[in-house]
C-alpha cells in the first residue's frame, strides 16, 4: 500500500521533472550564477575566480558615471516609448477597431516592424538618417526645411531621440496588437446602449473603453518598460553608443565591460543592479495597477 502511495506521489512529480530540469538549468542556475560572479573579479576565461566582495558594487555606485548616464538614456527612451509609442499604438488600434475597409491589411502593415530584426531595422534607419544622402534630409529639403538637415545619429542633440524614434517605430506594432485585442474583447452592447443614451465618442472612450482597458494598458506599459530598458540591438547597429556616450544604454555598457574589457565579474554586478532596477519598476507598476483597479 505504502509502495503504491509512494509510486503515485513520485509518478506525479516525474511528469513535471523535464520542465523543472529545464527551469533549473536554463533559468535558475544562470540567475544565481550572475549573483555569484558579481562578487568576483573574473575575466571570463580563467578557471580561477577571485572573490572581491562588494567592490564591484561599490565602484558601480560611487565611481561609474557612464553606467548611470546609460541608465538615464534608457529611461529617456522608455519614457518616449511609454507615451508617444503607446499613444500611437492606441490611436491606430482604435481606428482599426472600427470596421474600416481593408482593416486586416493595416493590421499586417502595423505588425511588420516588430517582426524585423533590430539590426536590420537599424541599418535601414541608418540610411534614412544619413547626413549626406539620407531620406529624411532629402524630405526636409523638399518641404523647405533644409536648414534642419544634419547627420541625425552623429549629432549630440539628436542622436538619442533619433534612436528612440527607431525603437518606437519598431515597437509600436506590439502595443497595437495587444491593445486591439483588448478593444475587441469589450462587449459591443455597452457601446450600443451608450449610443442610445446619446453618448459622444469621447464620453464612450472615457467611461467604457478606458476603464475596461486598464489591465491591458498595464500589460502594455510593463512590456514597454521591460522591452525598452533592455534596448541594445538598434543602438549597436546605428550609433554603437556614440557619439561620445550620448546613446549608451545599460546593455551596451554591460557588453562593453564584459567583451571589451573582459571584466565579467564587474559586468555581472552591472547586470544585478540593472535587474534590480527593472524589478523595482515592475513592482511599482503592479502596485499602481492594483490601486487603479480598485478605483
Amino acid at each position: 500500500m505504502n509502495f503504491q502511495r509512494l509510486r503515485n506521489f513520485f509518478g506525479n512529480y516525474i511528469f513535471i521533472l523535464p520542465a523543472l530540469a529545464l527551469f533549473l538549468v536554463f533559468s535558475l542556475y544562470p540567475f544565481l550564477k550572475v549573483f555569484q560572479l558579481s562578487v568576483t573579479g573574473w575575466d571570463g576565461i580563467s578557471p580561477q575566480t577571485a572573490f572581491v566582495g562588494l567592490a564591484n558594487f561599490k565602484d558601480l555606485f560611487t565611481d561609474n558615471p557612464v553606467f548611470w548616464l546609460s541608465m538615464k538614456n534608457a529611461f529617456t527612451i522608455t519614457f518616449l516609448a511609454l507615451t508617444v509609442q503607446n499613444l500611437l499604438a492606441l490611436f491606430l488600434a482604435l481606428l482599426c477597431d472600427r470596421d474600416i475597409r481593408g482593416g486586416n491589411i493595416y493590421r499586417v502593415i502595423f505588425y511588420l516592424p516588430p517582426v524585423l530584426s533590430g539590426i536590420v531595422v537599424g541599418l535601414i534607419w541608418n540610411w534614412i538618417y544619413d547626413g549626406n544622402y539620407g531620406l529624411l534630409n532629402h524630405f526636409l529639403s523638399f518641404i523647405g526645411l533644409g536648414d534642419l538637415s544634419r547627420a541625425w545619429l552623429a549629432d549630440a542633440k539628436t542622436a538619442l531621440f533619433s534612436v528612440a524614434v527607431i525603437h518606437m517605430w519598431k515597437g509600436f506594432g506590439w502595443g497595437f496588437v495587444i491593445l486591439l485585442a483588448g478593444l475587441q474583447s469589450i462587449p459591443r452592447e455597452l457601446y450600443e446602449a451608450a449610443r442610445v443614451d446619446g453618448a459622444s465618442s469621447w464620453v464612450m472612450f472615457k467611461n467604457i473603453t478606458a476603464p475596461l482597458m486598464i489591465p491591458v494598458f498595464i500589460l502594455v506599459s510593463i512590456l514597454t518598460i521591460l522591452g525598452t530598458m533592455q534596448i541594445f540591438d538598434i543602438i549597436i547597429s546605428t550609433t554603437g553608443g556614440g557619439p561620445g556616450y550620448h546613446t549608451e544604454v545599460p546593455i551596451t555598457r554591460i557588453l562593453t565591460t564584459m567583451i571589451g574589457a573582459s571584466k565579467f565579474g564587474y559586468a555581472c554586478a552591472m547586470g544585478v543592479v540593472f535587474g534590480l532596477v527593472l524589478l523595482a519598476i515592475s513592482m511599482v507598476q503592479i502596485r499602481v495597477s492594483r490601486a487603479m483597479r480598485q478605483v
Partner: protein
C-alpha cells in the same frame, strides 16, 4: 576542426580544406561564426565547456590572448617554429612582424611563459587611401597624396572648394580612432613617451597629447569628416569611399578586397597618415592580420600543427592572397600580390600594434580617450577637457 570569423575567406578556406584532404587524406572542417563579436562570445563559452576546436583564432586584447594561454588552451609553438621544415625553420617563412603579434617576450606583464603561441595567416596595415579620380577632378596631382598634416589640410581645402566630400572613416568603431590617434601620438612624441603615458609616468594632459587631440578639433573645425562619420561603422565608411563619396579614408589593407567587391573600377592609392613631425617615424598599425592557435588540450595537436604548416606554405599562401586580396604572412609570395595591395606593404618596417607594445593601456582609459575624441569631433568638448577626463580615468585605474 577549425573555428574562424572570416566570412570573406570562408570559401577559400573550404577549398583549401578539400585540397588538403585530397593530398593527405586528412579531413579538415572549417566552421564560420560571424560577425566577430559572435565569434568572441562563442570561443569564450567554449572555454567554459572545454569544447574548443583543434585550431581557432583569438580576438581582442593581448590580455585576452594571455588569459587563454594561462588557462591552458593554447599550445606553445616555439619549438615547432624553430624546428626545420623542408630544410629551414618554419618561422623563417614568415615576416618577423607577423610573428611578433603572437609572441610573448621574457618578463612580459601578463606572466605568460615566453614563446610564440600563434601562426599568422596574413598581414595587414592600416593606412590612408585616396581617390585618384576625385583628386584629378579637384585639380590635384593624383600621384602626390599629402605627406604632412599641413598638406592634408591644404588638399582638403582644395577638395572642399570643388564640393568634393573629404574624409571618411568608421569612427563609430572606436578602435579606428585609437589607431589613427596613436599613429599621430607616436609620430609626435615617439613610442617611448606614449608607453610612459600607458605606464602612468606621463599624464594625458601633457601638451603633446593635447596636440594629438587638437588634430581632431582641427578636423571638426575644418569640417573634414563627412557628416555622420563619428558614429559610422567601417563597413558604411567603406561603401562611402567605394562609391566615390569621399576623397580620403583611413582603412586597413583588407579594404582592397572590399573595394573590389563594391566598385571594381575604383582608382585609388595608399599613403601613410599625414605626418606631424620628422622627429619620430610615422608608426602604423599592422602586423599579423589573422592568426590561428592550436588548442593545447586537443588530442590532434600534431595533426593541427601539420595542417597549419601546409596552410602557410607558398602555394596555399599565394592562393589565399589571390582569392582574398590580403597580404600574405609568407614572405616568399609577397612578390605575387596586386599593386594596390603592394602599396599597403610599403612601410612595413614601421608597423606596430597594441599587441606588440611592451606596456598596455587599460580598456577603460582607451575607451575614455576614443569616446573623448568623438566628443571633440562633434564639437562638444575641447582637447583639454578630454585630456582631463582621460587623466581622471587613468588615475582611477591606478588606485
Amino acid at each position: 576542426m577549425v573555428w574562424h570569423w572570416l566570412s570573406d575567406r570562408d570559401d577559400a578556406f573550404r577549398e583549401l580544406a578539400a585540397r588538403y584532404e585530397g593530398q593527405t587524406g586528412v579531413k579538415v572542417k572549417f566552421d564560420l561564426y560571424a560577425p566577430s563579436e559572435i565569434y568572441s562570445q562563442r570561443i569564450k563559452a567554449a572555454v567554459q565547456t572545454q569544447t574548443l576546436p583543434d585550431i581557432y583564432g583569438i580576438l581582442g586584447e593581448k590580455q585576452d590572448f594571455a588569459s587563454f594561454i594561462k588557462a591552458g588552451f593554447v599550445e606553445d609553438l616555439t619549438g615547432v617554429l624553430n624546428a626545420p621544415d623542408g630544410g629551414v625553420p618554419w618561422k623563417d617563412r614568415f615576416f618577423e612582424k607577423a610573428l611578433g603579434v603572437n609572441e610573448f617576450r621574457p618578463a612580459n606583464p601578463y606572466g605568460v611563459a615566453p614563446g610564440v603561441y600563434g601562426i599568422p595567416l596574413d598581414m595587414t596595415t592600416i593606412q590612408m587611401v585616396y581617390n585618384k579620380k576625385l583628386y584629378a577632378e579637384a585639380g590635384l596631382d593624383p600621384a602626390s597624396p599629402p605627406k604632412t598634416w599641413e598638406e592634408f589640410l591644404a588638399h582638403g581645402r582644395v577638395l572642399r572648394d570643388k564640393n568634393i566630400p573629404r574624409f571618411v572613416s568608421g569612427f563609430g568603431e572606436i578602435w579606428m580612432i585609437d589607431a589613427l590617434a596613436s599613429n599621430w601620438a607616436m609620430n609626435l612624441m615617439g613610442e617611448e613617451k606614449v608607453f610612459k603615458t600607458y605606464e602612468g609616468k606621463a599624464p594625458y594632459t601633457d601638451p603633446d597629447w593635447i596636440r594629438v587631440l587638437s588634430l581632431f578639433k582641427q578636423m571638426a573645425d575644418e569640417k573634414i569628416l563627412v557628416d555622420g562619420a563619428v558614429t559610422m561603422v567601417n563597413k558604411t565608411a567603406e561603401q562611402t569611399f567605394a562609391n566615390e563619396r569621399a576623397a580620403f579614408a583611413f582603412n586597413g589593407s583588407w579594404c582592397v578586397n572590399v573595394y573590389k567587391g563594391m566598385n571594381p573600377g575604383l582608382d585609388y592609392g595608399v599613403f601613410p597618415p599625414p605626418a606631424l613631425s620628422r622627429a619620430h617615424p610615422m608608426k602604423i598599425w599592422g602586423g599579423a592580420g589573422t592568426s590561428f592557435v592550436v588548442n593545447a588540450r586537443s588530442a590532434r595537436k600534431l595533426a593541427a600543427v601539420e595542417f597549419l604548416k601546409w596552410l602557410t606554405a607558398d602555394a596555399q599562401q599565394a592562393f589565399l592572397s589571390e582569392q582574398t586580396q590580403n597580404l600574405p604572412s609568407n614572405k616568399n609570395v609577397s612578390g605575387q600580390i596586386p599593386p594596390v595591395l603592394a602599396q599597403f606593404s610599403v612601410g612595413m618596417e614601421n608597423v606596430t600594434h597594441p599587441n606588440v607594445y611592451p606596456v598596455h593601456e587599460s580598456p577603460e582609459v582607451t575607451e575614455a580617450f576614443d569616446k573623448g575624441i568623438q566628443s571633440i569631433l562633434i564639437g562638444e568638448k575641447t582637447p583639454a577637457e578630454v585630456a582631463q577626463a582621460v587623466r581622471r580615468v587613468k588615475e582611477k585605474g591606478s588606485r
